[in-house]
């Protein structure tokens, strides 16, 4: 049997799965990126390796997420895909009739609309990270609660406070104001959950038609307070899969399977020494930042140049 590895490496967390050729997940891992994608990928591979027998043959690797290019170069991936396509493929494999995917991650949020397993439309948040996971964790810190407890506390509220959702800075001053007025902590927390949903619906969903079945994914989907807020505001049922956080990695592993390329992958890559370096090209007025990736001191990939002047020979 052939096996495939899919890695989704985001700003906050790194996710990985190994699938067999029948699309079953035989190993999975989820850990924090901690600002060091190269190191976190090594930890991820070690974790995955423990879950599978030594003799399985991995013949294709796919990467997605914001560090997909870097990790793709490291793992010699056959597929390097954006996270929207990866999530859509993964989710629609498990839920073939899904119509809407709501996704809120650490720093970005997106909506994907599908019909008959095909993406028909999508949208992603723009310049601002209001209403994403990092917004919730910074507010949790301010309120001195663990972000993991957020949902539980929110559910105890009977009267959620109204909190502006347009902008993190305003939301924060609103939150302070509500606290000083004497609102209970659970009401403020529940209010924040509603504000995340309202923000999402007005800034990301932008009036797009949200049809059932609806699947809610990304780190924030684990927050039961936000789950409830979405159900209340949209007025429809929301599905949260226990593997929701792995959908990107799962999707890209399927894409690796579907691609014609076969290239054997070994876990020994974790022993290699990887080094990345950013240099500035001064050959024209653009001053592009070029990233060099070295494996055991040998240059394996480079990108970032806008013109031929900055082309790096490999």
């Amino acid at each position: 049997m052939e096996y495939f590895l899919g890695v989704d490496i985001g700003s906050i967390s790194t996710k990985g799965v190994i699938i067999d050729s029948n699309l079953n997940i035989i190993a999975n891992s989820y850990l924090w990126t901690k600002g060091n994608p190269v190191d976190s990928i090594k930890r991820l591979l070690n974790d995955l390796k423990k879950q599978v027998s030594d003799d399985i043959k991995i013949v294709g690797v796919g990467t997605t997420g914001s560090a997909r290019k870097l990790i793709g170069a490291m793992l010699k991936a056959s597929v390097v895909k954006n996270e929207i396509t990866a999530h859509a493929v993964g989710t629609s494999t498990l839920y073939p009739d899904v119509r809407t995917i709501l996704e809120i991650g650490g720093q970005d949020s997106k909506i994907i609309l599908l019909k008959d397993g095909i993406v028909t439309d999508y949208n992603m948040n723009t310049l601002c990270a209001a209403g994403t996971g990092s917004f919730l964790s910074s507010q949790a810190k301010r309120l001195d609660v663990l972000v993991e407890d957020f949902g539980k506390i929110a559910l105890t509220s009977k009267n959620p406070a109204k909190i502006a959702a347009r902008c993190t800075v305003f939301a924060e001053s609103d939150l302070v104001h509500k606290a000083q007025m004497g609102y209970k902590k659970e009401d403020i927390i529940a209010g924040l959950c509603y504000s995340v949903c309202n923000n999402y619906l007005s800034n990301v969903a932008k009036g797009k038609k949200i049809e059932e079945p609806i699947i809610f994914q990304g780190g924030v989907s684990k927050n039961i307070g936000v789950q409830k807020a979405f159900k209340d505001i949209i007025g429809k049922d929301i599905i949260v899969d226990k593997f929701g956080h792995l959908m990107g990695a799962y999707g890209v592993s399927i894409l690796a399977l579907k691609s014609k390329e076969r290239r054997e992958f070994t876990f020994s890559v974790t022993d290699d020494d990887f080094e990345t370096k950013g240099i500035t090209c001064n050959k024209c007025g653009n001053n592009c930042e070029i990233v060099l990736v070295k494996q055991n001191n040998k240059l394996i990939d480079a990108w970032g140049n806008r013109c031929e002047n900055g082309q790096v020979k490999i």
Binding site: N82, E83, I84, T126, L127
Partner: protein, 306 residues
């Protein structure tokens, strides 16, 4: 007498009027120099003159003027208030002249277009020719000839795009943005190049027959008084049936676009549409992710239709 040298910044309205401008001055017997394509350096130089509230396009513009400041006798800095009765342009076009005059020490040749005050293009160009010391008859002739040249090259572009629309089987994306953003080296060019590399036929929103502008616009909105945005809306309405997707391209922070694009996104529901907002961020990753997934979607839709 030595030839007068006119410097034209390769930014903002240059992309709309370049044929008229260059031909007019050349026919008068002036030297014309156009600043080179924008680079990061242009942007950095432009930023020095402005506060942080100016939009990316204005920052780039100032960088181009900065390049020209000691290379010519005059820099052409027009002032556009309104092109159509009861309509407006972004205030940046009306303040451009004052902005440059107050910030950069450079002689300016300027003209003013303000239809509400009956100052039209003919009036503006003859005024400019006379100010440079040319005879009235020569100026009028230069303007009329330049107008003809402008018409010829815009017809050419229209014809070229029409033939692409008629013949190409590739995925077609309408890039809808102001010409000065679409064609700028820093803003639109990387995006357009990325699309072309992925076998996309790029259709430019500024190229279309504006004969039906009014009725086309009204199919999307009845009320909009920004002339340039109206032209974009008209183009989207005109093209959308033949497009696989639409990219709204804008810069941060653009006032008219932020209103108009929001309205377009909520009203044009039959064609996939995304908005790309370009700012000074160095990283292109976010833009590439959006473009890649957009192309994936359009490809999948095509396959289903076939």
């Amino acid at each position: 007498m030595d030839k007068i040298t006119i410097g034209i910044p390769r930014a903002l309205l240059y992309y709309k009027y370049k044929d008229l401008w260059i031909n007019f001055f050349e026919k008068l017997g002036c030297n014309v120099i156009v600043s080179p394509c924008s680079t990061k350096e242009t942007l950095e130089n432009g930023k020095k003159y402005l506060n942080d509230e100016a939009c990316l396009s204005i920052k780039i513009y100032m960088g181009h003027v900065d390049y020209l400041k000691d290379k010519c006798d005059y820099v052409l800095v027009p002032r556009y208030v309104s092109l159509v009765k009861h309509e407006k342009l972004c205030t940046n076009f009306s303040c451009l002249y004052d902005l440059v005059r107050n910030k950069i020490d450079v002689p300016i040749i300027n003209y003013n277009i303000d239809i509400d005050k009956k100052e039209d293009e003919f009036y503006a160009f003859t005024g400019m020719g006379l100010a440079l010391g040319f005879k009235y008859a020569k100026v009028v002739k230069a303007y009329k000839d330049a107008k003809k040249d402008e018409k010829i090259s815009s017809d050419k572009r229209l014809l070229k795009q029409k033939s692409i629309l008629g013949s190409s089987k590739n995925i077609k994306i309408l890039v809808a943005g102001h010409p000065y953003n679409m064609y700028d080296n820093l803003i639109g060019k990387p995006i357009i190049e990325f699309l072309k590399k992925n076998n996309i036929e790029v259709i430019y929103a500024d190229i279309y027959d504006k004969k039906y502008l009014k009725s086309e616009v009204e199919r999307i909105t009845k009320r909009n008084y920004w002339t340039f945005n109206k032209e974009l809306i008209g183009s989207i309405s005109h093209h959308k049936k033949r497009m696989d997707g639409i990219i709204l391209l804008t810069v941060f922070p653009c006032g008219p676009d932020s209103l108009s694009n929001e309205m377009i996104i909520r009203n044009v529901l039959d064609v996939p549409i995304i908005q790309l907002v370009i700012d000074e961020l160095d990283s292109e990753a976010g833009i590439i992710t959006r473009l890649e997934s957009f192309i994936d979607i359009l490809n999948e839709r095509r396959q289903v239709h076939e």
